[in-house]
Symmetry: C2
Subunit: 332 residues, 2 copies
């Protein structure tokens, strides 16, 4: 998996799709306006202009383009995808009581929780308005399904937190909700709007789904410092928040009685003491939990790559391929 | 406007539409389920089974039936309308930090704000899934527009609260967001799904819009005890929360210097003392603000009735007519 890291794949995507992305940004600015409620564009701009990578709308644009689409509506769908993403971020920050997002104070902190809830609702509604414009009901179904999966995954994460009975199956549902559902919807609607053959649409779904899962497993693994077990500044956030992510679930599944008592104390009861994170990492290493999670991430990244074979040969396909390699390259 | 009050119009609607409503209730129970996240149906059931009047889904069913619809999809749209309504209630209670709804503790109190935000998001997504099933993109546009208007109205209400510069125009936008937008969408989609002629669809929109506005003005007026100026147990909630509703806006518009100072103190500064509500009512009476608000409510109720003329003669049309009389009869 040799990879040219001179330019990151999402930077190459941004370059190749720059004209389309300019149209998306214009449409976003236009549609987040509200004549009488200036609070809405203020809150939205705070988040949208903080400079997220805009990976999701680029996935939609790339999918449509590589399937040969030349109409105008991939731009609407890309903007809708970004609005849904922004709405979920606004609501997430309320749910997590976060203080920072993209290196800036969160909207709930700058304004209030009320504004974050309602502006999120507004963006969600605006997303569905945008989606009606191409006149294809199928894209609405795909993005409504994704939205339901996102909300369900978040509720699941809420109730699964601190619960040692959380299985890998539930983890996968949480991960789909958190990341993969919008990735796969973003790529799938790109194919649908392009009128691509069913096999290509299915491949785009599979690519987005597997990419999102690989991405999230990698993220959760990096929260424990990756497989290098080097404790960095931000290592262990999930541990401190008692979240059941894949490495932890794998370690719990193999725990002996003493280890189980440890997990019950630190995760279920939340009684965490000095040195507990080091102990958690030692137990994970002993059971190969970090290596096993990394192996899972690589499998999902491979599935993403494999799905691309069903798509037309196109420079954008190569970048999507590189992207699937890139998301797990951080684990090398 | 003689009215048989022996049976309230919405009770007659419930009776005439009982078979349809049974199908709606079944569909609601089916679609609020979540295999892995039992928190979702728990929160939803708490609210939905608390026994709201289900006026909104009944409006959709009635509109479809009186336009001669005999297919199955008015049930999906009615369920979608109820899901949107329930989602907004869940989010409202977070925004208003309410402790009671329909005589029971609110979900945010029984569970937490997080659950209310996320379950609301889930129901909103489920509503859009339901809406895709009839395969008519126009109904999605109508309900997406209504959802945007609802959220915008709520943000507007948030920023307009305590602001004496709030005009009747802004009040109308808030009222459309709060009540009329979902009423008018509920009736309009009933006509659209029935394939009714454009004039009938437009009349259904106008009926729902005017009914919702009349209803909300009446509600806001009753918060000041109606025009009788009798102070009851719940009189003055809006005053204490410093909300700019129609009677107050009308009184502020006519205020002399001394009255204006009073409004600045009690509404803008929130410095409310014993006897201030009585003083506010006295000022409103002096300027005929309560009577003027009542006159506006009657005008909107008349507009609702007048719109019905463009619809087919049907027993349900008579009940909708009675309903428009009923919503303002509380102000007699």
């Amino acid at each position: 998996m040799a990879l040219d890291l001179a330019q990151k794949p999402h930077d190459r995507l941004a370059e190749m799709l720059s004209a389309d992305m300019e149209a998306v940004n214009l449409l976003i600015r236009e549609r987040m306006a509200s004549e009488h409620a200036p609070r809405i564009p203020q809150v939205t701009a705070h988040l949208i202009e903080a400079g997220g990578k805009r990976l999701r709308p680029m996935l939609t644009l790339a999918a449509a383009r590589l399937c040969g689409y030349s109409g105008p509506y991939h731009v609407h769908l890309a903007a809708a995808v970004e609005f849904i993403h922004t709405a979920t971020l606004l609501h997430d920050d309320v749910v997590d009581e976060s203080a920072q997002r993209r290196g800036r104070p969160t909207a709930n902190l700058l304004w209030d929780n009320k504004s974050s809830v309602l502006v999120g609702d507004y963006l969600f509604a605006r997303a569905f308005q945008l989606m009606t414009e191409p006149g294809q009901i199928r894209v609405l179904g795909i993005l409504a399904n994704a939205s339901a999966t996102i909300a369900e995954g978040e509720v699941l994460q809420l109730t699964a937190a601190q619960d040692l009975a959380t299985t890998e199956e539930i983890y996968l549902k949480v991960v789909r909700g958190k990341t993969a559902a919008l990735f796969s919807a973003a790529t799938e609607v790109g194919g649908v709007i392009a009128g691509a053959p069913e096999a290509a649409v299915q491949a785009l779904y599979t690519y987005g789904d597997a990419l999102g899962i690989a991405f999230q497993i990698a993220d959760d693994l990096l929260d424990y410092g990756g497989t290098a077990s080097v404790i960095g500044k931000n290592t262990g956030d999930d541990f401190r928040e008692r979240k059941l992510t894949l490495p932890l679930i794998k370690a719990v599944a193999k725990a002996d009685a003493a280890e189980r008592a440890f997990w019950v104390r630190v995760i279920e009861k939340g009684d965490q003491r000095e040195g507990d994170l080091q102990e958690a990492l030692a137990i994970m290493s002993r059971h190969g939990a970090l290596e096993a999670a990394r192996a899972d991430a690589l499998v999902w990244a491979d599935r993403a790559r494999a799905a691309l074979a069903a798509l037309p040969d196109h420079p954008l396909r190569q970048v999507l391929d590189d992207l699937s390699v890139y998301v797990v390259s951080r684990l090398a």
